[in-house]
């Protein structure tokens, strides 16, 4: 017998923005916590335990939850810290789920955040490769100016993403215009989400196409911003949800899972064996999650998707790898309007990660937005109006290697 767990509240610190020089990390987290609690009838001391996480090398503060404990309410409470790169937020939420599902706790808060203005994200990302890249110097790499080690290693996250984008376009017989189109759709979705960072109402394919190419086929307009922001969610057991008298406007966790393959780019030391655009683990994990959620045909049974796309081509790739769309058919779905908020399979009504990316929060924002869609509480016009039974939320991280998948629904899985 499994214990059913529900998300009963999702809170943000405010709108995600590029700079918050007026506050520090604890002050960034606190309003999100207050917001999540404020939406319920709970009081702070009714939270049994906290699970928290961010990408701490980006700000240069080791285990900032120690310092921030008083601000989020963690003092004199159980606290656990989880971090798994881009998928951190989803991994934190999953740990919060297990705090409840294990039967050890009833009311648990999950918090994810990033304050990108306090560090340099590119330096943070280079930190992934640094020791390995340094070691290359011992093996006589080509040091000519334009083809040096940056080219080999992929140069931060964008280099590797460009391989993936090219590979995806070839497989799907699609062109760069499809990436432009989906990028534009996300920015205009974001304009309907009061919390999103890059809000560009009516953003068009042509607007995106004007931005310069970074590494073909990826343009500046296909990349995510670096945002400051925090998200907090409250997870409770079924018994507590009943006790609190809140079982209608909640999102039930029906299935969840995570997986890791090897580092896809830059693993020059020992060769890489997975294709960047193949994302086999995403297929494996989502199948497992659907079966846990009792979903036989994800195409029929899932109404909305929130996917983690640091680069716009991934907004096309993930729905396919998640089994929501036939392989190679995303560009078609995009073109016929299926991915729009009022379409057949609304994709990232929130505007997605390419509109808002506070790394340690981003994967949890996908889950939080999925929960808001299920509850019918998405604000500012990005609520999907069709009847929603199930929503899938996806997270992604590491060097193209970690994946998390969650299905939230209106009704819990029958025991």
């Amino acid at each position: 017998m499994k214990r059913n767990v529900a998300i009963i509240s999702v809170g943000y610190n405010g709108r995600f923005v590029s700079k918050r020089p007026d506050i520090n990390i604890p002050e960034l987290i606190q309003p999100a916590v207050d917001n999540a609690i404020g939406k319920t009838k709970l009081k702070h001391d009714q939270i049994d335990a906290y699970v928290v996480g961010n990408m701490h090398t980006f700000e240069g503060i080791n285990q900032p939850h120690l310092w921030a404990s008083d601000h989020f309410g963690g003092s004199k409470k159980p606290v656990m810290r989880i971090a798994t790169g881009g998928s951190t937020g989803a991994s934190v939420y999953q740990a919060a789920y297990y705090h409840v599902a294990s039967g050890l706790y009833d009311v648990v808060m999950a918090i994810g955040w990033e304050k990108h203005d306090e560090g340099d994200a590119q330096v943070g990302l280079m930190g992934i490769l640094l020791p390995e890249a340094f070691s290359m110097f011992n093996f006589g790499p080509d040091m000519s100016e334009d083809r040096g080690i940056a080219g080999l290693g992929g140069g931060g996250s964008t280099g590797g993403a460009a391989f993936q984008a090219m590979s995806y376009l070839t497989k799907a017989h699609a062109g760069i215009e499809h990436i432009d189109r989906v990028a534009a759709m996300m920015r205009s979705n974001a304009a309907k989400n009061p919390y999103a960072h890059l809000q560009q109402p009516g953003c068009t394919e042509a607007d995106i196409a004007k931005t310069p190419i970074i590494s073909y086929p990826l343009r500046y307009g296909h990349t995510c911003p670096t945002s400051c922001g925090a998200i907090a969610m409250i997870l409770v057991s079924e018994e507590k949800a009943k006790k609190f008298g809140i079982t209608d406007r909640v999102a039930w966790v029906k299935g969840l899972g995570s997986g890791a393959s090897d580092a896809t780019t830059g693993n020059i030391i020992e060769g890489q064996i997975t294709d960047p655009a193949e994302q086999y683990m995403c297929k494996v994990v989502s199948k497992k999650v659907y079966s846990m959620a009792g979903i036989k045909d994800p195409r029929k049974d899932i109404q909305v998707a929130e996917v983690y796309s640091g680069f716009s081509h991934q907004d096309l790739m993930w729905p396919e790898r998640l089994g929501l769309v036939d392989e190679g058919k995303s560009p078609q779905m995009l073109d016929n309007g299926s991915f729009a908020i009022d379409g057949e399979l609304p994709l990232n009504p929130s505007g997605g990660v390419t509109s808002t990316n506070a790394i340690g929060a981003s994967a949890m924002v996908r889950v939080g937005e999925a929960a808001l869609q299920v509850m019918g509480l998405a604000e500012g016009g990005h609520q999907v109006q069709r009847k929603i039974e199930n929503v899938v939320a996806h997270g992604w991280g590491g060097l193209f290697q970690f994946v998390t998948v969650t299905v939230l629904g209106r009704t819990p899985v029958k025991k």
Partner: protein, 382 residues
């Protein structure tokens, strides 16, 4: 849901101050030999949990390259950024939920040779008021605690030196310990380099290169691994407030709370009587009496008598760190997990020279943050 979870396998590296191999090789060899001991393959493990930290690894997303090294390639994997016992706690929750039957937990670091521990610790301090001033750090916090304890309970420098020697002797008999000082005397400890008095160099745990892997399993799946499961019967973890001025460094109420919670779960009413040994994560020797008393293992303020009567020695009433504890080896991220492995070994009667006779129930502790801000406690039984 699964009702009971057991430690069914464990292994630690021979910890060193300068590992001859890189971290990748270290953890691969460790997990490989653990699998071999148990006669299993990586397919017998449902979920893999790392305990590591980007700052101790000196890399962003430190598990990017270590994923395939513990057998988690194309498997379910996650990372707890805290001590390994927290990762074991998470694994325990995952198994209790009934979604997984088995889990491998691994903690490791190269604290002996790849970085200076005080530096990575400094990165976790309040960057606005404390880090730039450099007054408050992990050393000075524990020194404040030590001097408060010594003053209040007339615990002398000599008592502290005796306690250190007890641990050093235990470490000397522990084949995995990095620090071997068989001839260390009370005099030597008293004369060692003063750092933050009353803390001297000899009191500091042995930051080392090393790793520890533990396999947990549901009751149902335990038989596949061993006929000597060690049951996790109680768990608790609590965080204290951050600022030192707001804390009661002596009472350690959050540690008491964690221990009480674990005891209650395990049905322990009188820890002094019902617990046979304790493995504590102490970064400094002076923490031992403070922690042990907060956990209800000794009467508050009894440190002096405990040392005098050898109560915390291997043959004492309540052996504390029969393994030598972190005084013998402190590979950050693995240290708390090693306590679980050491306690399991004792309960399975497989400990070597440091065997505690008749041990049936043990308490295991791990900490994180300056002055043990975050504490995790396990009660394990054979």
């Amino acid at each position: 849901m699964n009702e009971r979870v057991a430690v069914v396998g464990y292994k630690q590296t021979k910890h060193t101050f300068d590992s001859p191999v890189a971290r990748e090789r270290m953890i691969y060899e460790l997990v490989k030999s653990l699998f071999k001991d148990l006669g299993i393959t990586r397919d017998d493990i449902d979920t893999f949990i790392f305990a590591s930290n980007d700052f101790t690894d000196g890399r962003t997303i430190s598990e990017v390259y270590t994923v395939p090294r513990i057998g988690s390639f194309m498997k379910d994997e996650t990372k707890v950024e805290a001590d390994g016992l927290s990762a074991a706690l998470y694994a325990y929750m995952r198994i209790l939920s009934g979604l997984y039957e088995t889990a491998l937990v691994i903690g490791f670091s190269m604290a002996g040779s790849e970085f200076r521990v005080p530096l990575t610790q400094a990165y976790s301090l309040d960057p606005v008021y404390e880090r730039p001033r450099g007054i408050i750090n992990y050393y000075s916090t524990s020194a404040l605690q030590a001097s408060a304890y010594m003053k209040k309970y007339k615990f002398t420098e000599e008592d502290l030196a005796r306690l250190t020697v007890k641990n050093l002797q235990n470490a000397n008999n522990n084949p995995y310990a990095a620090r071997k000082e068989p001839t260390a005397s009370v005099e030597d400890v008293l004369n060692s380099k003063p750092l933050y008095l009353p803390i001297r160099q000899a009191h500091v745990s042995a930051y080392a290169d090393g790793a520890c892997a533990v396999i947990l399993s549901s009751k149902k799946a335990a038989k596949k691994f061993t006929d000597k499961p060690v049951w996790i019967d109680g768990v608790g973890h609590f965080m204290d407030t951050y600022y030192i001025g707001d804390r009661d460094l002596l009472a350690m109420e959050h540690l008491s709370a964690a221990a009480k919670k674990a005891y209650k779960m395990a049905g322990i009413k009188n820890p002094k009587k019902e617990i046979d040994l304790a493995e504590l994560h102490t970064n400094f020797a002076s923490e031992e009496p403070v922690f042990a008393e907060a956990m209800g293992l000794f009467k508050p303020g009894s440190g002096k008598d405990v040392v005098k009567n050898g109560e915390s020695g291997i043959d004492g009433a309540m052996p504390v760190n029969p393994s030598g504890g972190p005084i013998g080896a402190n590979p950050i991220n693995a240290t708390g997990l090693i306590r679980l492995a050491e306690a399991s070994e004792q309960l399975r009667k497989e400990a070597g020279k440091n065997k505690v006779k008749g041990a049936k129930t043990a308490v295991v502790h791990a900490q994180d943050g300056p002055g043990a801000q975050l504490n995790t406690v396990f009660v394990v039984r054979r």
